[in-house]
Every structure is written in structure tokens, then in C-alpha cells.
Amino acid sequence: MAADETHRAIEAVFLLERARLIGGLARMVHDIDRAEEFAQDALVSALAEWPKGGVPANPGAWLMAVAKRRAIDALRRETMRVRKHGEIAQELEEAEDPVGAIEAAMDDDLGDELLGLIFTACHPMLSREARAALTLRVVGGLTTGEIARAFLSNEATIAQRIVRAKKAIAKARLAFEVPRGAERAARLPSVLEVIYLIFNEGYAATAGDDLVRPGLAQEALRLGRIVAGLMPAGAPDGAEVFGLLALMEIQASRLSARSGPDGAFIPLTEQNRARWDQLLIRRGFEALARAEELGGEGPYMLQAALAACHARARRADDTDWPRIAALYDRLRMVAPSPVVDLNRAVAHSMAFGPEAGLTLLDEIADAPALRFYAPLPAARGDFLFRAGRLAEARTEFEAAAGLTRNAREAAFLRARAEACDR
């Protein structure tokens, strides 16, 4: 292999291991930046050694051993330096033999360094945006530029957000361990929330010109698959993990069908179902089954069940709307929100007629959360259109077009408004 190719191959292997390395190192040094440094040291070693002797049989273990040795050496130097200056750092106060403890911990490889890193990057003490940016950076390996583009922010803002998050974590001396038992159940929602935030940004881009950013949705799917895979088998708090995974797999199955060849927005009932990815749908159903086995009844599982209803219908007309309406009736008990109520109104209108939908919409019309929410007037416009009240429908569609920040969706709504003039 040419030297170039060898370097690329080594870097590719390193990239596979990077997040796990950082997770394992962060456990020792309680600081992501330092963990990243030591991981980088391991890469430099690999670039020097592997071209001579070949890629080792277990590259991850090789890299981890080198990185940990660097970390231990650095900590030893610091210990000696600190003692020379007569100061004792708090870690040293707490441990009799800190370096020895670290070396012992090296053997205690639970294999969940990655999961520990995910839990820490998604710690509830950080804001949702900070969690998302940090997770994409250290777990996903995205560059700050890629993250900035993903969230339509600028690189400086994202970089700062990540720096502050790392500092906060170091200051709070988080352990980078996977929480156990009740604590894990309590911390899971903030992990799942971040993953779904990332997925939604990719699946239904809230602003900008593109409707979907498939790379981001794929990254969220990958994170969801990782967390689901690493959850201990049979753990009841795994139900919502599988629920979220099922929801994402099924929604992702529709990514190719959501926009037309010119990038125009296509609503669910009009999508070409031949373009739904059956492999992902099957995976979604499998994940949903596992959620049900674990006794799931939570919001993600219910939303997955809803998505599964659509996935089951070969054509839009085959959709089991009464079942969907019933699922929304349950969802609003478990996760009440004006948006859920809105979707429930849509489901009822499809199952029982536009008047039923309009009645339910009247109940939530004044919800403050929905005041600038385009889907609300869009739904009312749709019900009025189907009820034959075209002039009123037109007003609603125009209002909706004005509210959405997504260019494609706005164009679609304006087209619906114009259709009312026939």
C-alpha cells in the first residue's frame, strides 16, 4: 500500500475507535479535552508503528493501551510536580494511590466506555443545545463546521457552546460512568431527548431550504442503535430506548419519499410508498416488538406505534385511522401537549370526518404554544377544505404559509391556498 493509503487506513481505524477511546480516557482524567489529547497521542503512535508491523489484530485495545499509558505518565508527572509545589489536588486527597487505582481500573473493562460517554455528554445539567452539539462532536465525530451547518448556526457559536459544555462537565467532576438502576432510568430521558432532537433536525428540518438532512438523521439513528444495543438485556427502562429507535427507523424509512425530485414537500398521505425503505420499516417493527416485550407504554413507544400504522398501509387509503386516533387518545394521557392534541385532531378528522377534527381544534385553538405554529392553521385549512368551506380554508392556508420558516413547506401551503379558488 502506498504511504498515503496506509495513513488513510490507519486514520479510518482510529476514527472507528475514537469515541470509545475518549470515553475510556475520560473516566480516568474526568476531562474531555485531555481525553481527546491522549487519544490523539495514540493516533500519532499508530501512524508511526503500524506501517512497520501492520495493523494489530485488536486495534482498539492497542490504541487504548497506548493512550492510557500516556495518561498515566502525564498524571504521574503532575502528581510529582504538585507535590513539589507543596499543593495537594483534591483527587490526590481522596485517593491513597491514584495512579495505582487507575492501573487497576485499566483491567476493569466493562466495554461500556462509549455508553458512559453518551450519558455524560447528554447530562441534564447541560442545555439541550449544548448536549446535542457536544454529543455530535465527541460521540459522532462531526466537526464544529458540520454541526454548525446542521443546526443552521455559525461555527463560532457552536465551538463556544462545546467549550463551555466541556468546562461545565470538568468542573462538576462527572464520572463518565454509565449510571445504574434508578439513576439510569432517571437520566435516560435526557439522552433520548438529544438523540430525537438531532433526528428531527435531520428529518424535518425546521428552517432553511432543504426539507431533510439525511446525514443528520442517520447519525441520530446510529446513536439510537448504539444506546439500544448497549442497554442491558431485559432492563425495563430499555422500553423507551427501543421505542425511540423504532420511531426513528420508521420515520427514516420515508426520507426518500418526503421530497419530490425538485425538492418539493410531499405530505405523508401523498407519498409514493414504493419509495419507503422496507428494510428500515422491518427494523422499526422489530424494535417496536422489543419495546412491547419490555412493557413499554411511554411516549416514544406510542409514537412508534403510530408510525407503524402508516408503515403498514400499502396505500394511503388503507390507513387504519381509527386505530391512529385511539393511539393519540392514549398518547395525550402519557405525554400531553398541544402538538399531540393537534395531531389527534387530524387523526379524528381522518377517522370520523372533518367536523370531528374542527371540534377538537376549537378546544386547543387558544393554546399559547400553538400561536405561531404553522401546522395548526394548516390542519384547520385542510379540515375546512374537506368540509367544502373553501374561502375559510384559503385564509387558514395563507396564515400557515406565513408562519413556517421552511421554504419548501411554505410553497406547498401557498399551493393549497390557491387550490381553494377552484
Partner: protein, 141 residues
Amino acid sequence: MRVFVFVKATEESERGAMPSPELIEAMGKYNEELINAGVMVGGDGLKPSSQGKRMAFDGDSRTVIDGPFAETRELVAGLWIWEVKDMDEALAWARRCPNPMSGPSELELRPVIEFETDFAETMTPEGAAIHERNRQRLEEE
């Protein structure tokens, strides 16, 4: 991006030979790594070509040919579907796969055509119109 990874057949796989217990265990661990990394999307082992068939097309004629097929080198014994960032990542994963056969063997990695991005440039307006019609016909079926 998606990559299909084909395990190329060998005389051994064409014989239907069972892998050793060590290989089964190693493959199981490897598949678990793929799953834990969120890379594995799908995969299956294929029965030997003696249980397969071919459909040959020539103009209007259709001919069924029963396996086994002679050109072992061109046959496939199994396949994976992986979700990766790029071919470099796919190669890195492939490199760490245990040798699927007891002798020399090959994996073939083929990136999946992603419709919008790959065809966008090359489709003519006529091609796009035909494609659109096919889409609608599929919808009606």
C-alpha cells in the same frame, strides 16, 4: 451512506460446509460489534448456488437456469448492509472482519446508489418525465 458488503463464495461455501465453532463465535462477536456501533443495517447468509436459480434475459426470451453455477469466483455466499460515513469507514470495518472462510476469501464492498444525489445531474427532462409516470403508476397499484 449505505454499502452492501458481499462475502464472495468459495468451493467450501459452495459445498455447504459449516464454519468451525471458532469462526461462528468470532463472527458472532464481529456482528455484535457492528450492531453496537450502529453500523449494521441488515445481513444474511445465502445458501449454496446448488439451491439457487438464474433468470436469463435476451430480448423477449426468458430462460430459467438451475444452480449450481460453475464460476465460483463470481458467486456470493452472504451479504451485509452497512450504514457508514464513507468508504474509508467501510474498509476499516471490513478489515477487522474475521476471515469468513477457512482459506483465502474476499469481501466485495459496493456503495448503494442514493437516488436524489446520484441521479440528479444526469437525468434529462424526458427521463425525468418517464420516471415520474412510473412513480405514479406504482402508486396506483
